[in-house]
């Protein structure tokens, strides 16, 4: 029996690797995403234009402006001279943020009066604008502190440490997420699209008349998926550690052990999709309809805790969400088994559910 499954596995791997186009598609996208994602998928705020409408012109505003123009969030400062120009700069997205200094700003500040600066932000990019506003506030605070020197009313220092990622580099969020996303794509493609292709080309019937049982066919389709997905995940992990210099904190055994259950859970979903679909087109759309929400709700683009409660409950069924917690936990936080178990048991449960369902559907469609 083992031998029979083995021949099926070898056949699957041959089918995946035989032609150049197929080999390219197995490795090309991984390398492409590895090269693009860490640089492109960032929510950092850099290289923006800061608009300044200075109605004051005193020494205080000039000094403050010099400090603002040194911030890495703003590489260009655009001087504006009227309301119309402010409107134009924001409308055309020339500036992310316009600061408007009122007249008498310097004089009022020198007289220790409270003054206000209007910050006009582009609401079409409200997340970035808010982060940029945070930078402006920091610069403003440090300016005021330096100005006042050591006085009794000075706000005491506020020390911030970022654990697991001292400089808040996005790449440390992206590489672990990418490990999870790439394994998702390859597992689903290998399991569900390959069966659909066999169906469409008629070779699936040949498999069925062979001495292989439906259970053996399922195993024979799952193991190549495991191999391919683990291989692709290893490429990304290696690149993350050696190319992007992210220190690997936790245990490799724990990571690959959890990955095993994750791929099982996905193989179950892939097999389930392929048992329902009769053409490649349907299988592809099925995979897509699962993958798209799974990735979007995984906590990779935006945090899970920002979702409404009903969606968070629903998202519990999303294996990707749990697996990203595990990869990040092991990779960045050196999380131990007890911590990982909180994300691992849902994965095991989902794997059990999807594989059982796929098995049942397979037998029903074939019986």
């Amino acid at each position: 029996m083992v031998y029979r499954i083995l021949t099926l596995i070898i056949k699957e791997l041959c089918a995946l690797l035989q032609d150049r186009q197929g080999r390219m598609l197995l490795i090309g996208p991984v390398l492409l995403q590895l090269a693009v994602f860490p640089f492109a998928a960032t929510l950092e705020v850099k290289n923006n234009t800061l608009g300044i409408f200075n109605e004051d012109g005193g020494s205080e505003s000039v000094e403050l402006l010099q400090r603002l123009s040194r911030a890495k969030a703003f590489t260009r400062v655009q001087h504006l001279h009227s309301d119309a120009e402010v409107r134009r700069a924001i409308d055309r997205q020339e500036a992310l943020l316009v600061l408007r200094f009122p007249s008498e700003f310097s004089r009022n500040l020198a007289a220790n009066r409270t003054v206000s600066i209007q910050a006009i932000l582009d609401g079409r990019r409200s997340n970035s604008a808010q982060i940029a506003l945070g930078y402006v506030r920091q610069i403003l605070d440090s300016y005021l502190e330096d100005r006042q020197g050591w006085s009794a009313t000075r706000t005491p220092e506020f020390v911030v440490r970022h654990w697991f990622n001292p400089n808040l580099e996005y790449v440390r969020h992206i590489i672990p997420s990418l490990v999870a996303i790439i394994t998702t794509i390859s597992t689903l493609v290998v399991t569900s699209l390959s069966i659909a292709r066999e169906r469409e080309q008629g070779t699936f019937d040949q498999l069925l008349v062979s001495p292989l049982t439906p259970g053996m066919i399922m195993v024979g389709k799952t193991i190549p998926a495991l191999l391919v997905a683990a291989f692709q995940a290893t490429i990304i992990l290696t690149a993350g550690i050696f190319l992007y210099r992210i220190p690997f904190q936790g245990s490799v055994v724990l990571l690959y052990g959890s990955m095993f259950f994750y791929i099982l859970a996905l193989a179950g979903i892939g097999l389930l999709i392929s048992s329902i679909c009769s053409t490649q087109q349907q299988a592809f759309l099925g995979v897509f309809s699962f993958m798209m929400p799974a990735v979007l709700l995984s906590g990779f683009p935006s945090p899970v805790e920002n979702m409404p409660l009903w969606l968070r409950h629903l998202d519990w069924l999303n294996p990707l969400q749990h697996f990203i917690i595990i990869v990040k936990g092991v990779f960045l936080k050196d999380a131990g088994f007890p911590v990982l178990l909180r994300a691992l048991w849902p994965l095991i449960l989902i794997a059990g559910m999807t594989l059982t369902a796929a098995d049942w559907m397979f037998r029903r469609r074939l019986g």
């Binding site: 197929g22 996208p29 995403q33 693009v36 640089f39 492109a40 998928a41 929510l43 950092e44 705020v45 850099k46 290289n47 409308d91 220790n112 206000s116 932000l121 582009d122 609401g123 079409r124 409200s126 997340n127 604008a129 506003l133 506030r137 605070d141 100005r147 006042q148 050591w150 009794a152 706000t155 005491p156 506020f158 020390v159 911030v160 440490r161 970022h162 654990w163 990622n165 808040l168 440390r172 699209l193 490649q280 087109q281 349907q282 592809f284 759309l285 099925g286 309809s289 929400p293 935006s302 945090p303 920002n306 979702m307 969606l311 917690i325 990040k328 960045l332 936080k333 911590v339 909180r342």
Partner: protein, 382 residues
Amino acid sequence: MIRTHPQLSGGSLRRLGALCRKETLQIVRDPSSNLIAFVLPIVMLFIFGYGINFDTSALKVGLVLEDISPEARHFAESLYGSPYLDVLTGSDRAAMGQALTEGRVRGFIVISPDFAEKLKRPGGEAPVLVITDGAEPNTANFVENYLKGAWELWHLQRAAEQGLPPKASVILEPRFWFNPTAESRHYLIPGSITIIMTVIGALLTSLVVAREWERGTMEALLASPVRRAELLLSKLLPYYALGIISLLICVGVAVFLLKVPFRGSVLVLWLIGSLFLGSALGMGLLLSTASRNQFNAAQAALNAAFLPAMILSGFIFEIRSMPAVIRGITYLIPARYFVTAMQTLFQAGNVWPVLIHSMIFLIVASGLFIGLTAVKTRRTLE
């Protein structure tokens, strides 16, 4: 290459009609294309609307109170009172560190045992320490900003209560234009329509045409008196109609159900939507004509159309923060222009300089992809 088919030119329109009819019947009869054209857009729109959100309703933060002086408790009270924070109180740093590792809190603030003492000294030094979860960088930024805001506010209030002379301070008054409450969904939902249009335009078309090549029905079509222009149009028009219907459904759902304001004109929306669909359909046709294999066409469409639209269009991730090379690449991606146009149309209205810029690029992109497909189809026959 100019050929004259006097005997065929009269029937051209009729033939095109017949081809379109065949294509439409194929779409309508296949449940999976119905799924992708009508059900998936709405499901996706709701996922984008509720699932992707940068606005934290309440940040989960920890508070480690190692000091029990009235000052420390006074500060703790001010944190409990904040609507932006969901505070978990403890007295042990190690336990709170564990909660951070598990993701139960996204950051915590430590009030050290000598908090009150240090506070009394003039020019008091660092009585608070904030630790954030750097594994979630965006959230970590917000934790820092919110806690800092709370800390400064408490100081101002305390200074006022103690009757200290007011110090010079500068108040930043933020005004978010187009989106006064700074809700991220107001710009994410218009952007997400781009992704949906890409799926319909590029993914669905590439699959359908590749299937015709794979099954040999494309050769059969080419052997008939159909001209290439008619063939291309017969593939473009039905999917264009499908795409425009989905676009209208998406905008309708966004405006009436998800309550995203739409300030531009519907006519401009239709125009820009058509141009973008032209480029997406062109790309889908090109990929499937080049690969002639559904499996590979689907993968290629995913990588050449869908992922760039997700990552490089500026819909979620900031184009300006990308390195120069990648920023250069984004200029070649049609989705980038459609995202900008949609965000502007929804929120700012008809800002012509932005819209015309997008339109020009989309016209060029559509022409390029459809032209390349025409060339590719012709070559394969001769």
